[in-house]
């Protein structure tokens, strides 16, 4: 069941949460809505579920306009960041809730609930109450509860946001596998670009109530359409008009034409990856991502003067011709410069 949103707008008082947003989610896909807080991603998800009414625009599920349908008739599974567990019910009763509402026979309910609890690896905990479960277990229970009613689409609102890093990683691997098995059209909201890239096939990047760009993780990383996408999806250094990925910074010890003089400020070892922070002549701070081997070869130390040569740079302001990375050029922040250019400097 594909999901289409056309021209969605939503205002909360003075705050424009959604500003003419249109997205297309293909049937059976796993799509991430990615953006910082306040970007409108959760509002969009809640509008698809009918938990928020739109001021303008419409929502189609499987080509049917559901904008006027109340939530309980939209057949969406929804998973909340803080689980929304029914606290006065056991795990079994939580998962059975939607089936009881649908007046399914008791024996069938029992069979279906146990099947789902097995799927989410909670079968031994059916008689526990939510307060006796860990965060990860509660979220798996919430997922089983949402899946029990065989929804047309599954919507997850920052589902792993309240969990610790280790559990979060396990759950997202598990969610991806679950999706591979069930093929239910799934949208999940996150502010974590790594999580979005790890789990989803398709990403929609949102900012300030608008869609900045949608595409696969590769497309967003390799061909970001806007400055926002470039800096939100992956790390970035800014050199005047130009943006360069930290792993695209070549560090040399000898003076070199077209390279930028810089002083090593700090060297941070993050396991295999080394983060070296520099300050340029004009005070601009940039950093480069090096491997351990590269660092050992260069024998960098703090305070040392080196020469930086950005590899691929990108500029989003169409009126300035691409040039070499120059820290001194005037900053020009245009967010919606449609014609992004890629230039290999020097």
């Amino acid at each position: 069941m594909g999901i289409t949103v056309e021209g969605a707008s939503k205002r909360f008082g003075d705050f424009q949460a959604l500003n003419d947003v249109s997205i297309e989610v293909p049937n059976g896909s796993l799509t991430a809505l990615l953006g910082p807080s306040g970007s409108g991603k959760s509002t969009l998800l809640r509008a698809i579920a009918g938990l928020e009414t739109l001021d303008g625009g419409r929502v189609l599920i499987d080509d049917e306009d559901v904008s006027k349908k109340p939530t309980q008739k939209r057949e969406v599974g929804f998973v909340f960041q803080h689980y929304a567990a029914f606290k006065h019910m056991t795990v079994f009763e939580n998962v059975a809730f939607g089936l009881k509402i649908r007046k399914m026979e008791k024996a069938k309910i029992s069979a279906r609930v146990h099947e789902l609890l097995q799927l989410v690896q909670l079968d031994g905990l059916a008689e526990r109450y939510p307060s006796q479960l860990s965060g990860g277990q509660r979220q798996r229970m919430a997922l089983a509860r949402a899946l029990a009613v065989e929804p047309q689409v599954l919507l997850l609102d920052e589902p792993f946001g309240a969990l610790d890093a280790k559990v979060r990683k396990d759950l997202r691997t598990w969610l991806r596998r679950l999706h591979d098995e069930m093929h239910v059209t799934t949208i999940f909201v996150t502010h974590d670009q790594e999580e979005a890239m790890d789990v989803a096939g398709q990403l929609v990047v949102m900012n300030e109530g608008r869609v900045e760009q949608s595409g696969t993780a590769d497309e967003l990383y390799e061909q970001p359409a806007t400055e926002f996408v470039m800096s939100f999806v992956g790390e970035v250094n800014r050199l005047g008009e130009h943006f360069v990925r930290p792993h695209d910074m070549a560090v040399a010890l000898d003076r070199d034409d077209g390279a930028e003089e810089a002083m090593v400020q700090r060297i941070v070892a993050l396991g295999f990856e080394i983060r070296v922070e520099f300050v340029l002549g004009d005070g601009t701070e940039v950093w480069a991502q090096l491997t351990r081997a590269e660092l050992q070869k260069l024998e960098l130390r703090e305070g040392q003067i080196v020469y930086l040569r950005p590899g691929q740079t990108k500029s989003f302001s169409g009126d300035v011709p691409p040039s070499q990375g120059q820290g001194a050029s005037t900053p020009h922040g245009s967010r919606d410069g449609g014609d992004a250019e890629v230039s290999a400097a020097v």
Binding site: T71, F80, A84, A85, F86, R102, A148, V149
Partner: protein, 269 residues
């Protein structure tokens, strides 16, 4: 030394708190129980099992049976309105609900008297239709409802705010309509707030004196509730009767409180 002075001050505070409660709350209660049974069980039992006494007891329970369910339904509905459907005008409703707390019960009684009396707005029309409000049960029920109205609302509002809307939203995504969501999700989640409100409402209705005195006329065997009966016995120097009825009232209130505690313990277990 720090620890011991800390312990001293803790004991000091505890003694002060207990002393205060004993002097102001427990001593009068103990006194009335003592006075009631000073000459054995017979005098108070005789007083309370007199026909007027029994009638007063029945009437008091009738007040509870009518006013408490009505105020519970109204209270929960009103709390839902105030918390879940906040609109312009909610603040006014919120303030008006507190009126019975602020206004002296005797003033409430007087205002009902004026409204339903022979020269009041509603009095003449109702009298023509043959409906008696003053000096009869309907007026007493109105007074009881008025004075005990805020309790369920006030106890339910904070609990509703605390549970938030996510569970209700989750229920709606699972196919539950508003009615199903209320019965299966909201009500179970707020039940202890509501129960506490019900206990306070019951206690208030049981003990109501001022407003009911005015509208009932306190006619023995007809419009006399237990508190009015106590006062009448006291005025007539029938002290054993007054004490006996007081003890019955106190026991009713204590039973209500105990019932809630027992229910709650069962729930927690």
């Amino acid at each position: 030394m720090g620890a011991s002075s800390n312990r001293h001050s803790r004991w000091g505070l505890r003694t002060l708190g207990l002393g205060y409660l004993t002097l102001l709350l427990l001593a009068p209660l103990v006194m009335i129980f003592y006075k009631t049974f000073e000459h054995g069980l017979a005098p108070p039992i005789e007083a309370i099992t007199s026909s007027d006494g029994l009638h007063a007891l029945k009437l008091t329970l009738l007040m509870v049976a009518i006013a408490v369910p009505l105020n519970t339904i109204f209270g929960v509905g009103c709390a839902l309105l105030l918390v879940r459907h906040r609109r312009r005008g909610s603040a006014i409703i919120d303030a008006v609900i507190n009126l019975p707390f602020a206004i002296s019960p005797i003033v409430i009684g007087l205002s009902l008297f004026l409204l339903y009396g022979a020269h009041g707005w509603f009095g003449p029309a109702l009298a023509e239709a043959g409906i008696e409000i003053l000096f009869s049960v309907p007026g007493m029920v109105l007074a009881s409802i008025f004075v005990s109205l805020p309790f369920v609302v006030r106890e339910t509002v904070p609990v509703l705010q605390e549970i938030g809307t996510e569970q209700e939203q989750a229920a709606s995504t699972l196919g539950a309509n508003a009615w199903q969501t209320f019965w299966r999700i909201t009500l179970p989640a707020i039940r202890w707030g509501v129960a506490y409100g019900v206990v306070l409402t019951t206690a208030r209705v049981l003990g109501e004196f001022g407003a009911v005195t005015i509208v009932s006329g306190s006619i023995s065997g007809k419009t006399q509730t237990l508190p009015l009966f106590v006062e009448k016995q006291f005025q007539n120097f029938n002290l054993p009767g007054a004490y006996g009825a007081s003890v019955v009232l106190a026991l009713l209130a204590l039973t209500t409180l105990l019932a809630m505690n027992v229910l709650k313990r069962k729930e927690d277990a």
